[in-house]
Structures are given as C-alpha cells and as structure tokens.
Symmetry: C2
Subunit: 149 residues, 2 copies
C-alpha cells in the first residue's frame, strides 16, 4: 500500500521527508511481522537475536559486552534479556574464571533446539521482500548505506 494511505497523510514536504517516514514505517512493518512469527515459540526478537549470537559463539561463551557489540541496538539492556533467556533455560550464566568481572554466557541444548525449530522463520520473512528483484534489494541497501554516511 502507498505510504500516504497507510498513515493517512496526504502530502509530504519533500522526497526526503517522505523517504524518512517510509524507512521508519517499513521497518516497523517488517519487525511486527517477524515478531508475530516468533511469538508462538515464546521468543521476542531481541531474545532471538541474542540466541543467534550465542549460537555463533558456541561452544565458546559470550560476555554481555560481546552481545551488546553484536546487537542491532547497542543501547539495549543485554543483561536483562539474558535474564529472560536464563529463566527459560535457553542459556546459562557463569562467572568467567579468568576475569571475575565478566560473565560467560552459553546457549544450552534447549536453546539450540529452539533455534533449529525456528530456522526458517527469519528467512521466510526476509522473503516478504521478494516483490523486489535481487538487484532492487541490493540497490535498496546501497541507498540506505548512503543515508548513514
């Protein structure tokens, strides 16, 4: 649907304002769909992303610092997201022996299994972008990169 109709706004000041709103609105649209896909598994998107990072490290542990570095949202509260995952026994937390300030966080077998079950979800959702051609998707990425230059 055209942005004008989605947000009930008739006109935009210029192409920049419209593109700005469109990026924000489309991101929300994508995230909402993705979150809905993970909901049946009791996972929120931030929790899913942390699990993915932990799987990437497996069987090595990760620290909270490493999670923050790797997360899309640097200012999120990784520590409290790990709380939730720990309560669901999807990760373990253990004081790092070589540096007792840090905490070793590891994904459990249950966590790995849950990721296996949800394997196709994220890809499936990215394929919501398949009304674009691969070239258009690449072009979109380039334009977005340019914004943040």
């Amino acid at each position: 649907m055209k942005l004008e109709d989605e947000i009930q706004q008739r006109a935009f000041k210029n192409a920049y304002q419209k593109a700005h709103l469109n990026v924000v609105f489309t991101a929300g649209w994508l995230q909402q769909r993705l979150a809905a896909a993970f909901k049946p598994y009791g996972l929120t998107l931030p929790q899913y992303n942390v699990l993915r990072i932990l799987r990437g490290q497996h069987p090595k542990p990760a620290t909270v610092n490493l999670l923050i570095e790797r997360m899309l949202d640097k200012t999120s509260n990784a520590s409290r997201i790990v709380d939730k995952l720990e309560a669901k026994h999807l990760v373990t937390r253990q004081i790092c022996p070589s540096n007792r300030r840090a905490v070793d966080i590891r994904i459990t077998e249950a966590g790995l299994e849950l990721l296996r079950q949800t394997e196709s979800l994220a890809d499936g959702q990215s394929q919501g972008l398949h009304n674009l051609s691969a070239e258009e998707a690449a072009q979109l990425s380039d334009l977005l990169d340019k914004i943040r230059d």
Copy 2:
C-alpha cells in the same frame, strides 16, 4: 558506514536478508537521532507526533481514536501518551459533550508554542538524508512501498 561493519556481521545470506536488516537498522539510526534532537525540549517522538496531529486538528478537538488512526504505530497506547502531555499542560482533555464515551483532546497554547520552537528539528533531520539526491530519495520510497505490497 557499511552495514557489515555497523553490526559486525561479515556476510549475509542474500540481498533480501541484507536489505531487511538494513531497513531495520537504518530506521533505528534515524529515530535515535531524531529522538536526541527532541530530548532537550522534553518531548519523546510519540509525544511529538501526537502534538503534530493535534495541531493539525486545531482548533477542533481530536479523540483518542483519531490519534490512533493517524499514528505511525497503530498499537501504541495513545491514551497514556496523552496522559504525559496533559501532565505537561501541552494538551487538555475533556469529555465530549455529544458522546460521553469519547474524550475531546486539544492542544494548548503552550503546546503550539513548543511546536513552534521545534519547527525545524524534524526537517533538519530529514535532511540527514541529503546525501541522497531527490531522485534517489524518491526511488528509495518506491522500493519500500514495493516491499509492503
């Protein structure tokens, strides 16, 4: 900066996955900058957006329903955002005489004045997109519209 560096991820499965992440990441980047611009004025972005809608209606009142319809995020809690604005005397709330279920919400003079002071902020931020040409911005919007088709 290139997305790969921003999120410390070396490779993407395909152009679709990369574009998906890039939309989400760029939206967060834009919103964070915009929120920072409004912070000195004690306004959050949802509060600002509600004020803008109310100015659009002024001097007619708006209802909570109308706010929800017009907001980017339909599932937000408009009622509680109005609470915050009311506490800051930027809006007034009054039971609608002709339909006592509804509530007439109006922007106050203080609210209008605050919008005047922040007039340039949103535009200024959209101009963060000015490393794009107007054509590129339009093209970006078209690609995003296509995603949501």
